[in-house]
Amino acid sequence: MRRTSVRLFLLAAVMLAVGGAILPTVVGAQSPYSTISPATDQANDINDIYKLTFWLSLVVFVGVQVGILYTVLRYRRRRADEGRPEQIHGNKTIEIIWTMIPAIILLIVFIPTVRTIYAHADQVENPDLVVEVYGKQWWWEVHYPAADGEMQVVTANEIHIPQGKRVVFHLFTNNVIHSFWVPQLSGKMDLIPGHVNKLAIDTDRPGYYFGQCAEYCGDSHALMRFKVIVEPEDQFQAWQEAWRAGPGQASGDLAGGDIAAVPEGMALCMTCHEINGIEAVAGGNAVPDLPEELDAARTFGPNLTLFGCRTTLAAGTLRNTPENLTSWLHDPESIKPGNYMGTVIKPGVLADDQIQEIVTYLESLQPEAGCGEIPVQPGVTEQVQVQDPD
């Protein structure tokens, strides 16, 4: 009996240690949102503390579980008439020891924690580039700095940033609280009305990094995804130039080939959306009276400049294809519950031929030189997140 117990408990110890060590690491890394596949110094700092806490926890976990198992097997009552065991009320020395052990372990975690907190706090004060991010229900607006007289680049849901720079995100919201989170780049930081929070990352490898809103913000909180696109400096500059230049000549399949010839149906769109270089849309649909609940904080939709280069629609909900854009323009509510575009664009508001014109037009909004490829390096995910509608 005794030997079986010892074997059992040794086996359990080994299984616990191996299982505990391997499983979370292997399993947790299998996602473009993995919190343990760092791609910046900041994410790496965090991961180092995580690994420290993980290994310490594993030791304590295995120690305690094995202790429990051993006690349970060793001191099981074997006979019903077993006498009362010795009545031990406590032991001061032992109790002091097991008060001290956790204290020491915690100190080991606390020191690098404090160092990292202050280091990261300092970093936000020394940016190479400041990017302003505005949380909306349920998408992200991105503003880039502009020199005097220069046009400010404004985009949505896909944040281009240059490689090898310290980029500091300044985070704003004029509605509810959101949280800006790109797990591979750094921890999350909340967007809170009336507060400006800052988050620094030192970009390293070029590629697509997947982000998402991490603070519950209403109906479609789960569909508030975004991407950070880290690209070589020259490519980043070229992208900004292209944005400022406005859309190039439209591709051949656009009626008339004239980018300024905005389809009539777009008049309605332009109530809330902007396209750089397109001032207004003549004629077309009368702008309807907007529902009462649509105030300024809601009537502002994503900037659609260079829309044809976006990889997704509706903040990462759908892959950007003409078919998906058609479904979206037909009935946004069915794809993204509660979104404000759906309070105006209901099935039938836009005629099918209008939708086709708008789709063709929007997909043609690309720089003259094309969208360009991001040189994706190994270890960086290339996937596009999609949710295809039925």
Partner: protein
């Protein structure tokens, strides 16, 4: 049961307790109120469980459409609110009510009618919260209701109103119950029961009640400000009006973090009773356990902002709150080790109660360790609001609280009902719960590390979260079956379970010295307390070191006391009347009803009507003869 010889089964008390619905509606007996709390809370637990199963069904695969996004958001809000306020807290209160007065040798709580009033108001709060489903306006802003998502601008429906009025009503119930428990413990202990002779569960009752009294005012104030913002157009939480959404977060978590200890400490108290009894050894380091409970409760008030590491409080605040949070791990660790120390060199008997108790020790460690991980703000910045957190606090609130409450149920069921729960079915119950619980919540660590945020009604295929989510959903259904087994056990045992003797477990505390179930007056004569673990002392004499193998003493002959000579308060229906008024008043703020306009005052008619009933009820009860 067969293993321990029983001296005798006490004769039933001479005065039969009253039966029938009316006797329950008017009861002021702490034992019956305890049962009512327990049964009601269990029904709410099942409701919250069904909500959880719907949530899990929706998440079983990517892009499922089992429920709409709107419904899903209501479900997770109500799952959290229900489990915390309507299931776990009142279940703890059920044990406080039933067990504590018996443990301290009292005939009832200090304020029996107030006790009934607490229960009825709790029930009113539960009704209000769940009535919202029938108006298609279930609370939808999360159990933590972060502003501005609760403002009329961003949440114009009645959803948040149901939530805030419901919580406010529940707060009244909690405060009344807590004061009652505090006064009872302080004033009603049997002669000779000094504080350090008091059983550890009664200690826990006292400390948790003090926590309640200190924590609830914070959420009450927070909810009042929210009510002003919503009903009167003030802007306490609105940045544009000079307020601040972070004010809500601070006020909420000043309540919300102690609330965690309000939920888990009662379970700690229960296993601190169960483990010594089934180890046949006194609790290791009794006084240290008491101090550790006090320390956890005290430190629990200084760590609220660890829920807010990502709101941008700045490095100093984050570092300080990280340090405070880590400190709590020390007294908590002491508890774990002391439970282990109690078992070492004991004579362990694995009844279902003991299995659940040891299960708590084992599983709570996991929740504690993951808690230390995100006590570090940088790590928290990755784990906060992900499934890692969900895993963490379910290891605390299920692996801790629910396991503890189950241990308590299996332990005290014989005392409460006079029947034993079936041990064989109980083992099935435990192992299904243990396996289902771990299958459900352990993989949540993985999906959390893989970046899956909480409160997502759906996720994409490419996230890679699909396979484990399917596994988790299957685990959740296994876990649910453990509750079915529990229900079967209770029903079966109530009908034809083994008759419980007075002291089936050879226990150490005074509730086991009276009959099972106890008479209305609990004890024929109030016991004299000379030692901690008095009942062991009575049975075995000095159980100090070296008393191994002590011979069981013959039980002292029971003194015969004529029950009619014992003064017990009369039943009263006024607590129910007054609570009904309270319910009507609260509903007046939520449902469409004619509005009375007197000058600037717009009063929905149900409010003064309900208020009048409430006041009349309290007035009548004040002048009712006590018996």
């Amino acid at each position: 049961m067969a293993s321990i010889a029983q001296p005798q089964v006490m004769a039933q008390p001479i005065t039969k307790p009253a039966t029938g619905l009316w006797s329950w509606l008017t009861t002021i007996d702490h034992k019956r109120i305890g049962i009512m709390y327990g049964v009601t809370a269990f029904l709410f637990l099942l409701l919250g469980g069904v909500e959880a199963l719907i949530i899990r069904s929706q998440l079983a695969r990517p892009n499922l459409d089992v429920v709409s996004a709107v419904r899903y958001n209501e479900l997770f809000t109500m799952h959290g609110t229900t489990m915390i306020f309507l299931a776990l807290m009142p279940m703890s209160v059920a044990f406080f009510n039933y067990v504590m007065p018996l443990q301290i040798g009292a005939r009832d709580v200090a304020f029996p009618r107030l006790n009934a009033y607490s229960y009825w108001i709790f029930l009113a709060g539960g009704i209000i919260l769940n009535l919202s489903w029938f108006f298609n306006a279930a609370p939808n802003a999360g159990w933590y209701g972060y502003s501005p998502l609760t403002s009329t601008a961003w949440n114009p429906g009645r959803n948040v109103d149901f939530w805030l009025i419901g919580l406010q009503v529940l707060g009244v119930a909690s405060m009344l119950a807590a004061f009652n428990m505090i006064v009872t413990v302080i004033n009603m202990r049997a002669p000779g029961m000094t504080m350090m002779r008091m059983p550890i569960f009664s200690w826990t009752t006292l400390i948790v009640s003090i926590l309640l009294v200190m924590a609830f005012p914070a959420i009450t104030a927070a909810l009042i400000l929210l009510a002003f913002d919503r009903y009167a157009g003030t802007g306490f939480y609105e940045y544009a009006a000079g307020g601040d959404p972070l004010l809500w977060q601070h006020l909420f978590w000043v309540f919300g973090h102690p609330e965690v200890y309000i939920l888990v400490l009662p379970a700690f108290g229960i296993v601190s009773e169960v483990i010594p009894v089934f180890s046949r050894k006194p609790l290791f380091g009794f006084s240290v356990m008491v101090y550790a409970t006090c320390a956890i409760a005290f430190l629990g008030f200084g760590v609220w902002a660890h829920h807010m590491f990502t709101v941008g409080m700045g490095p100093t605040a984050n570092a300080v709150f990280a340090g405070g949070t880590m400190l709590i791990a020390i007294p908590t660790g002491v508890k774990i080790f002391n439970w282990l120390g109690t078992m070492v060199k004991g004579s362990l008997r694995f009844t279902t109660a003991m299995l659940f108790a040891v299960g708590l020790v084992s599983q709570f460690v996991i929740g504690g360790l993951s808690g230390v991980m995100h006590a570090s703000p940088p790590v928290d910045a990755q784990q906060n609001d992900t499934y890692f957190i969900i895993a963490h606090f379910h290891y605390v609130l299920f692996g801790g609280t629910v396991f503890g409450l189950m241990a308590g149920t299996y332990y005290w069921f014989p005392k409460i009902t006079g029947r034993m729960l079936d041990e064989r079915v109980g083992k099935w119950n435990f192992w299904l719960a243990f396996v289902g619980f771990n299958a459900t919540f352990f993989p949540m660590h993985f999906v959390g590390l893989a970046g899956m945020p909480r409160r997502y009604f759906t996720y994409s295929e490419d996230s890679g979260w699909g396979p484990w989510n399917l596994f988790i959903t299957i685990g959740a259904f296994v876990l649910a079956t453990s509750f079915l087994v529990f229900i079967i056990n209770v029903v079966k045992s109530l009908r034809n379970g083994e008759i419980a003797p007075d002291d089936p477990w050879d226990a150490a505390t005074m509730e086991w010295s009276t009959s099972s179930p106890p008479p209305v007056y609990n004890f024929a004569s109030i016991p004299q307390i000379t030692h901690r673990d008095q009942l062991w002392w009575d049975k075995y004499g000095d159980h100090g070191a070296g008393a191994s193998g002590a011979v069981r003493k013959a039980p002292a002959p029971k003194e015969h006391v004529d029950p009619s000579s014992i003064h017990m308060p009369n039943p009263s229906y006024f607590p129910l009347v007054s609570a009904t008024g309270f319910l009507i008043m609260a509903l007046g703020l939520l449902l469409d009803n004619p509005v009375l306009t007197i000058g600037l005052l717009h009063l929905p008619i149900l409010v003064p009507i309900g208020g009048l009933i409430m006041v009349v009820g309290i007035y009548a009860w004040a002048f009712e003869p006590a018996g």
